[in-house]
């Protein structure tokens, strides 16, 4: 198939748009697609993850949230980005946006990642405390299971270990 725009090169991008039941087809070569990029999703440079994200975000009012609540402007106090602007561009303005939009983020992050809590690497310098906290959490789980299995000697050892870590946290 030949590109419908320049009529010279073979069409490599095929795109069907259906809006309100009205169907439009595009068959373009790469360079023409690049030029029309903005209007055609899937064209090189034209369609990014951010478009897709804002698509996901746009559906939010339909997720059973109170419409009135939606109308209240949520704004990041640090950089001034509003939540509706974030929804449009799919990107945060600064790291504080995560705090100011935190009420809205869980469902979004779950949809994108299937999860909303970090379990990976923790930075050494700024994350020292967090590292200990995470260890304590794991140890407490282990402690409970030792108690359940009546392995009290082991449990006592774990209890001491937890105490040491808690001591370390208060020193940090």
């Amino acid at each position: 198939m030949i590109c419908q725009e320049c009529g010279e090169k073979p069409a490599t991008l095929h795109f069907t748009k259906i809006v309100n039941g009205e169907k439009t087809e595009f068959h373009l070569c790469e360079s023409c697609a690049r030029e029309k990029g903005d209007s055609i999703p899937g064209a090189p440079n034209g369609f990014s993850i951010h478009n897709l994200l804002s698509g996901i975000l746009e559906f939010e009012p339909a997720m059973g949230q109170n419409i009135k609540q939606q109308k209240k402007v949520i704004r990041c106090e640090n950089c001034g980005l509003t939540y509706s602007q974030f929804r449009k561009i799919g990107r945060f303005g600064c790291s504080s946006c995560y705090n100011h939009f935190s009420g809205q983020l869980d469902p979004l992050l779950k949809r994108v990642h299937g999860n909303s809590v970090h379990v990976g690497k923790i930075p050494i310098k700024s994350g020292g405390k967090i590292q200990f906290k995470r260890q304590i959490k794991d140890l407490k789980k282990e402690l409970q299971s030792k108690i359940d299995h009546e392995e009290f000697e082991e449990a006592a050892r774990l209890r001491d270990e937890i105490r040491d870590l808690e001591q370390k946290i208060s020193e940090v």
Partner: protein, 350 residues
């Protein structure tokens, strides 16, 4: 600096890696931001200048110097064509080349480490290895990350992890990806089935040049989608085991074709070799396909007088930016097709 632009093949690409008959390269990218500065999208000129300065200073850290000599290239100091070449070598992203303000890249001597500043995030650490070495790439990226973290204040949150401009990167900020050459799976029409399966386990598949473009020359990039709620090692292990299986499928498809349709294969790779050796006009799509055929021919030892390195080199050199750099001027599409054919003939027959 000139070397980064003039040589098509980064030093690191010249090395052989494990499974390099199928895996072209392995890449790790870590997204990091500084606390107290808006993300590059909203940063003022002054703020992004400060970020550039702070991140650039880390280049003098002793720990970093022990890894390699590094050079910093501000995007404002190179022209459009030169930045295009860096994109084609995968050393910077199209986004950094086209949209960044006070953007820069720090490159290691062998170009296997590239650190982008003021891209979508303040810092993007990238490590590229030849062949299938995704764990090795992560180890190095992790080491560099620690060095930067020691000197800078990262935006990190206990619950959300490393905070990034785009919610698709938050958490670990990691994108692990592997570039695969899968001609036999394409020829035997198994590719779509496999790629569909891949996308169902949380991995993404893209064509050669990342987002949006179709696959050229049977090259596919497979990367993780999820960055939050899984640890780095889980993410890498998941990618590793899926890629391992794809490699096995490609190998058995190649072996099967070699026994069942040997004549067809010999005909195909030699036709492409002949075309590349004699054609005077070659568009990028045909070049990619023919180069893929010849590469398959080399891997299956059906062609012996061309080295795999020449093929790797041509895959980069036949891209528009590089061709124009080579010609020393801007070229129209038709002129590019002629220059491309010239360049291929020259390299493949010597």
């Amino acid at each position: 600096m000139e070397r980064f632009i003039e040589d098509a093949l980064s030093e690191w690409m010249k090395g052989e890696g494990p499974d390099s008959d199928i895996v072209i390269s392995s890449r790790i990218r870590l997204a990091r931001n500084l606390t107290n500065y808006p993300f590059p999208m909203l940063a003022t000129n002054q703020q992004s200048e400060q970020v550039l300065g702070k991140v650039s200073d880390v280049i003098h850290a002793e720990d970093l110097k022990m890894l390699s000599h590094f050079e910093r290239i501000p995007l404002s100091e190179i022209n459009e064509l030169e930045s295009k070449v860096l994109v084609e070598k995968h050393l910077i992203s199209p986004n950094l080349a086209e949209e960044s303000r006070n953007g820069a890249v720090i490159l290691s001597e062998n170009e296997s480490i590239s650190i982008m500043i003021n891209e979508e995030d303040h810092i993007r650490i990238q490590c590229l290895f030849p062949g299938f070495q995704i764990n090795e790439a992560y180890e190095l990226a992790n080491q560099i990350d620690d060095i930067f973290e020691e000197k800078l204040n990262y935006a990190f949150d206990e619950k959300r992890g490393y905070l990034t401009s785009c919610p698709t990167n938050v958490g670990t900020g990691i994108r692990a990806s592997v570039m695969l050459h899968l001609p036999a799976l394409v020829l035997t029409q198994q590719i779509n089935r496999i790629l569909t399966a891949v996308s169902q386990v949380g991995l993404a598949v893209r064509g050669l040049y990342g987002e949006g473009s179709e696959s050229l020359g049977n090259l596919f990039q497979i990367s993780n989608q999820i960055t939050l709620g899984q640890s780095e090692s889980e993410i890498i292990h998941n990618l590793y085991s899926v890629v391992k299986q794809i490699i096995e499928h490609e190998r058995s498809a190649r072996a099967k074709m070699l026994t069942e349709s040997r004549t067809f294969l010999i005909d195909r790779v030699n036709r492409s070799y002949g075309t590349l050796s004699y054609a005077a006009i070659m568009d990028s799509k045909e070049a990619a396909q023919r180069l893929s055929d010849v590469r398959l021919g080399i891997d299956l030892e059906l062609i012996s007088n061309v080295s795999a390195n020449v093929l790797n080199e041509l895959m980069i050199m036949t891209q528009p930016g590089f061709l124009q750099q080579y010609a020393g001027k801007k070229l129209s599409t038709n002129e590019r097709d002629v220059t491309r054919a010239d360049m291929i003939r020259e390299r493949i027959t010597t």
